[in-house]
């Protein structure tokens, strides 16, 4: 249910999400999603499709619910006590929150990369091989070697680390660590990669490398990225979703959002009229 009291906080009315929230060929589709942390409602009636092999960027001021929404998609919010989710979230028409859905298997299909690079305190090799071993994706050492190499190549890291695969992953630079985390994610061959501010701890060069990588990866995977950098959203994504105080205000082609957004709140945010 939509909380009408909450809506009165706006100077400008949010009736429903404007733009084009629904598309054909959706990988994820969410309908009437509400999220509560205890008594507090964090997301109000979010309806959106995430297109297959597309990059969708979620932007909005701090506390607008974009990260919360992203974490609903692979049930990362399950780990948070008193977080309650209602509505439908479907991955390829399969209910993500169905009783028989195994969150561990779900997260293998929907991988995640976080703001701070978080490699395991293990070797580079083991970092990448870890998930594959866990899910039994390689039947021999040779197969595992191949998988690790392939994943590192896809993450654009192999050349830099091929002679130090058995050195600790934590010894790499920030940008390299983040690419290691991406390699770890793609080693288990997910369908979707969620990225929660993946470059906010990186310098512009490392950021550019990751952005380039994202565009390359989107040929094979569906990517949803939460970012505070509007330029980043503009650079990498095909569609952009704007969140405001828990409401999904506008979803549109990125080109439209950054040149001629439909909603005044979107316009205000991307032109720097409030933060």
């Amino acid at each position: 249910m939509i909380n009408m009291e909450k809506r009165e906080e706006f100077d400008i009315e949010i009736d429903k999400t404007v733009g084009k929230p629904f598309i054909d060929n959706a990988k994820f589709s969410t309908r009437n999603v509400d999220v509560f942390y205890g008594e507090k409602q964090a997301i109000f009636d979010a309806n959106i499709d995430i297109g297959k092999n597309q990059i969708i960027a979620m932007i909005g001021p701090s506390g607008c619910g974009k990260s919360t929404f992203l974490r609903c998609l692979n049930r990362m919010n399950d780990t948070i006590q008193d977080c309650r989710i209602s509505g439908d979230i479907k991955l390829d028409d399969e209910d993500v929150y169905h009783k028989q859905q195994d969150p561990v298997l779900l997260r293998a299909r929907v991988g995640m990369v976080f703001q701070k690079p978080n490699p395991f305190p293990k070797s580079i090799y083991d970092n990448v091989a870890y998930g594959a071993k866990l899910h039994g994706l390689a039947s021999s050492k040779i197969e595992l070697d191949e998988l690790v190499e392939k994943s590192l190549i896809r993450a654009g890291l192999f050349k830099e680390v091929k002679d130090s695969l058995h050195k600790p992953g934590t010894g790499l630079s920030g940008g390299q660590q983040q690419r290691l985390c991406i390699a770890r994610t793609i080693a288990i061959d997910p369908e979707v990669i969620l990225m929660d501010e993946p470059t906010s701890a990186l310098d512009p060069i490392a950021t550019a490398v990751i952005e380039e990588l994202m565009i390359d990866l989107s040929k094979k995977y569906t990517i949803a990225i939460v970012t505070h950098s509007m330029q980043q959203a503009a650079r990498v994504s095909q569609r952009t979703a704007y969140f405001h105080l828990g409401y999904l205000v506008e979803v549109n082609d990125t080109n439209t959002v950054f040149t001629n957004p439909e909603h005044q709140l979107t316009e205000n945010y991307i032109t720097g009229r409030f933060g």
Binding site: M230, A234, F258, T259, Q264, I270, T271, G272, F274
Partner: protein
Amino acid sequence: METQQHISQQYNQELEGVKSKVLNMGGLVEDQVEKAINALIEQNNELAKEVAESDYKINKIEVEIDENCAQLIAKRQPAAGDLRLIIAIIKLITDLERIGDEAEKIGRYTQKLTAMKDDINMYAELSGLGNKVVTILRDALDAFARMDVKQAIKIAETDKQIDEEFNRISRILVTHMMENSRNIKTMLHVIWCARALERIGDHSQNICEYVVYLVKGQDIRHIERE
């Protein structure tokens, strides 16, 4: 449109600064055009000289605004309405500068015409066209200042009248040329002036189109309006 101020006061000031420079430039251009038309109709050599020699002021402001816009893009990475404003301004000042050139042209032809001292009866005919041109330019700049889309669309339509008026004058001038071949040189100068006026109308129409783009985000150039 811009209901709210930017968080960055500096950014606000920079955008406002550029906007007011554009209006300033618009005022100068309008002034030049009016003087040029008066010089032509009254065959005032001195005024014509003044117009022909003042165009550099407009060019100088154009360069300045271009520089400001480049810096705004580089430093602020404007988006949405701000981006459209800057793009519209960059285009608009090009048209303003061209209008300035047309006024200068009229000034120079008028100087030649006054030197010829031919007693022709064409200047009154031109005053009707001149009035229409001054009006469309003033209204276009006004629509930009107030960001008034409705007005902009309405004004853009009036360019057709200017084109018709120009065609009418051309026909008369051609008739004069045919009647007496000694008139040809003079008539050619007059026709160039009429042509310059007609071009100012076209540039004013462009300005109106930029206003629509700026406010609505729609590019209405090269499409038939209903």
